[in-house]
């Protein structure tokens, strides 16, 4: 009997590492870190670290959720505006209706899950590309945000969270800080790391994680062996929406004010972070940790440029180079791995 893959069987640790989807992001993050540590003094101070971690955190929570969805083969363009919608729902219910903040948060979560389920349901029922379906939701939510806010408050923002019932306890959970040495770090960083770890674990250790890869990699194959394809996709859309709610809640409790036009345009940042982190646009491949690292690159670069006293105009150039660089690195290593085939 011939052995089919002798060369493959002998593969060592290194070659296993370089086919990991995160590899490009990891190299990129190291490069960005070293670069700004050298060019900007403040970058490596405790306060500096707290700043760029904070910037990465809320983006990172969304990037991880969007990565799961992309591995499952779908997009959510309504994810950015969802962070504003949920914040608005919470704020209107707490400030204008006078509900306890916790109750407002709960209802806001129900709203988010409803929108996520609707997104997913339309996609699996109609077979339309999620790009189009969620573009519709995105526009609809954007309109609702402005329309309802203006209707209720006669302005385009809701503020006054500070004086609501339950603000203190909710604020402690979603928007407090913790001390490391004498530097305050945002609690959102903990949420980010926790969520990324949870997502990574779900992806590789649970049935649901397997199914996510399967429905994104090849939905017909998955269906043929009994994977509940529709349910998996709908749950992924709901996860993304729930992550939007988490970020919305963190924002509203921290800043106590929310603008009705907030969040627009962020959806692409989430997708970019996920792609830097190794997600393929075609689905079936990617990593939650990679997406978290992708968000870290964002945060480090955006704040690093500020610390280095450069014009923030340069940020987009930087981002573009990072995106292409990470994708190229991923691609090169994958090719090399595939060449071993046969």
């Amino acid at each position: 009997m011939t052995t089919l893959d002798e060369r493959v069987a002998q593969n060592g640790l290194v070659s296993r590492l370089i086919v990991r989807p995160e590899i490009g992001a990891l190299i990129g993050a190291l490069a960005v870190f070293v670069f700004f540590s050298i060019v900007a003094d403040k970058f490596l101070t405790a306060a500096g670290v707290a700043t760029w971690l904070d910037d990465s955190a809320t983006l990172g929570i969304m990037a991880v959720a969007v990565a799961l969805l992309m591995i499952g083969g779908e997009f959510d363009l309504s994810a950015g505006v969802m962070t504003a919608s949920t914040a608005l729902v919470t704020a209107i219910l707490a400030v204008e209706v006078g509900l306890n903040v916790w109750l407002a948060l709960l209802l806001s979560l129900v709203f988010a899950l409803g929108v996520g389920a609707l997104n997913g349901w339309i996609v699996v029922r109609t077979g339309l590309p999620s790009f189009i379906v969620t573009l519709g939701t995105f526009l609809a939510l954007q309109g609702l945000n402005l329309g309802i806010t203006r209707l209720v408050t006669n302005s385009v923002q809701v503020s006054g969270m500070r004086s609501t019932d339950g603000y203190e306890s909710a604020g402690f959970v979603f928007a407090s800080t913790f001390q490391v040495g004498d530097t305050p770090f945002q609690i959102s960083i903990v949420w980010w790391l926790g969520f990324a770890a949870l997502a990574a674990w779900v992806l590789v250790r649970t049935k649901f994680g397997n199914w996510t890869f399967a429905v994104g990699g090849s939905a017909p194959s998955a269906r043929a062996v009994g994977v509940p394809v529709r349910r998996t996709k709908i749950l992924l859309f709901m996860t993304t929406a729930a992550a939007g709610w988490l970020v919305g809640s963190i924002n509203i409790l921290r800043f106590t004010t929310v603008q009705a036009n907030q969040g627009i345009g962020l959806e692409f940042q989430f997708i970019i972070a996920a792609v830097i982190g190794g997600c393929l646009l075609t689905g079936g491949f990617g990593s939650a940790i990679g997406a978290a690292i992708g968000a870290l690159i964002f945060g480090m670069a955006r704040q690093g440029i500020v610390f280095a006293n450069w014009n923030s105009d340069w940020f987009m150039l930087f981002l573009g180079i990072m995106l292409l660089g990470a994708v190229l690195v991923n691609n090169t290593f994958r090719r090399r791995a595939e060449r071993v085939r046969r």
Binding site: L4, G217, S218, A224, G226, R341, R342
Partner: protein, 509 residues
């Protein structure tokens, strides 16, 4: 798992199964009866409805009519899960694995061993390893991504998955199409073990010799109807073929006309071609009008050589010369412009635009010509394409149909037809008859001969040794990336070639 059935008892009866797709009646009253512990073969031309029938059995298609009786009880199979639950596991014709998942994850996809929703990975991997050992391939790492395995490796994973379901009935739709001779033996050993345990196998293949080796009974399907059931698997070939096609078909290799080879005109000269870890120092020539066959096992580097000549892979060293002109390595357009054509092995990933019409797919290769010569040319191509497709009996014969809706063998015909209608100087054919039925195969052989007779240099790779010997003028034997032997086909026997590809002995016939 219920064991109410003894070996020999009727396990499954399908009767009068009807299934229509928009514009096609794929099944028009098919009957099938399968007993426990038997290998029941399904025979039929390309597009006869074999795959459709087994998809109905697998719960993937819902029939429009007919009855399914499982272990004496009328049953509806509303979904793949329902079929798996009663004990029917299916290996589909088109591999249906998820590339991004590991071997173990693919094997257990949809029925992951779990405790409270958490996969028991250790357990899963151990079980997967056991299955791979049972299949004779303990060296395949179960943690490896399936997309990184070879075609044969993927086939094994698909087989392991069917075994993992502990099924009473396993359907195999052309499982050997991508396998080399020794892998086929391996598969048959597993099949024998399974039937000894009382598992029934429904086996689909276009290779009659396989059916004779492992089959017990045969059901023949033609145009969506059962035309003969429960035949002995040793029914003479002529009779089987006659039942399948409704006419008498020549199944032997067509007689090669007096050698038309012009040995003074070397069209393709390959020298010292090398690609690290794939093949090394491969040199050969193909003359105008000559058919050269490459024999060897899957994984010997044959496809890689073809793809490198074509420029789809870049050679590390060595030269490819076509008609006196050296080709730029790794440059497909240059090769095509020099008159090289390749009908690749993996039609889905490498050759076909599945959502496009048959016509578009066939004319695809001619596009450069078309842009030079204008519209009238494409019409001629289409006419030629239609004629070729008719000769190959592509069904349905409508060139406007999407390739996706064609049966597996008919898709293969579309890939090959593409190059047959084009004026190539060098034609590279990688497993051209994979999944093609007996009748169409004979026609394909004749077409290849005609091309050679018109002066085309043909380089052919096939895993079926008789095909290589019967079709070629000269045979190259490859093993583990090296050329072992080169000899006129008339001086070689099947046994000698098999010996060389497996053991590497350089005995000459």
């Amino acid at each position: 798992m219920s064991t109410e059935t003894e070996p020999g008892d009727v396990l499954l009866t399908m009767s009068g199964i009807v299934k229509t797709f928009p514009g096609v009646r794929a099944l028009d009253g098919v009957d099938l009866e399968v007993r426990a512990g038997e290998v029941h073969c399904l025979l039929g031309q390309n597009g006869a409805g074999k795959s459709t029938l087994i998809k109905v059995l697998a719960g993937a298609h819902q029939p429009d009519g007919g009855e399914i009786v499982w272990q004496g009880k009328p049953t509806t199979l509303g979904s793949p899960v329902a079929a798996l639950r009663i004990g029917v596991a299916t290996m589909y014709q088109e591999l249906d694995l998820v590339d991004g998942l590991s071997v173990a994850e693919n094997i257990f996809l949809g029925h992951e061993p779990n405790a409270f929703g958490f996969t028991r990975r250790g357990h899963m991997r151990a079980e997967a390893r056991k299955l791979m050992r049972r299949l004779g391939h303990p060296e395949i790492p179960v943690g490896r991504e399936v997309g990184l395995l070879s075609a044969a490796g993927q086939q094994l994973v698909s087989m392991a998955r069917a075994l993992a379901h502990d099924a009473r009935l396993i359907v195999m739709d052309e499982p050997t199409a991508a396998l080399a001779a020794d892998e086929v033996d391996n598969l048959f050993r597993v099949v024998a073990d399974l039937t000894a345990e009382g598992v029934a196998i429904v086996y689909i293949s276009h290779r009659l010799e396989e059916i004779r080796r492992i089959g017990n009974r045969v059901t023949v399907i033609k145009d969506g109807r059962t035309v003969a059931s429960n035949l002995d698997s040793h029914t003479p070939t002529a009779e089987l073929v006659n039942l399948m096609s409704g006419r008498n078909v020549e199944t032997v290799f067509p007689h090669r006309e007096a050698n038309t080879t012009d040995s003074s005109h070397e069209v393709l000269v390959v020298e010292g071609l090398t690609r690290a870890s794939e093949f090394a120092d491969v040199s050969f020539t193909v003359n105008a009008g000559e058919i050269v066959g490459i024999a060897g096992l899957v994984g010997a580097g044959r496809s890689e050589v073809l793809e490198t000549v074509y420029g789809a892979r870049k050679a590390d060293s060595g030269t490819v010369v076509v008609d006196g002109k050296r080709l730029r390595p790794g440059n497909v357009p240059a090769a095509v412009a020099a008159g090289v054509g390749l009908a690749p092995e993996e039609r889905k990933s490498q050759a076909l635009l599945l959502d496009q019409s048959v016509a578009n797919n066939v004319v695809l290769a001619s596009l450069p010509e078309y842009s030079r010569a204008g519209f009238s040319d494409i019409r001629r191509e289409l006419r030629d394409a239609r004629a070729t497709l008719e000769r190959l009996d592509l069904r349905p014969a409508d060139p406007r149909r999407e390739v996706r809706t064609l049966s597996g063998g008919n898709q293969q015909k579309a890939v090959v037809a593409r190059w047959l209608v084009r004026d190539c100087k060098v034609l590279l054919l990688d497993e051209p008859t994979r999944g093609v039925d007996v009748g169409a195969r004979a026609e394909l052989y004749r077409l290849i001969h005609e091309l050679a007779a018109s002066g085309v240099a043909v380089l052919l790779v096939s895993s079926e040794v008789p095909e290589v010997l019967g079709l070629s003028d000269r045979v190259l034997v490859m093993r583990e990336g090296r050329l072992l032997t080169e000899a006129p086909a008339s001086e070689l026997t099947e046994a000698a070639v098999l010996d060389m590809v497996m053991e590497g002995s350089e005995v000459m016939a």
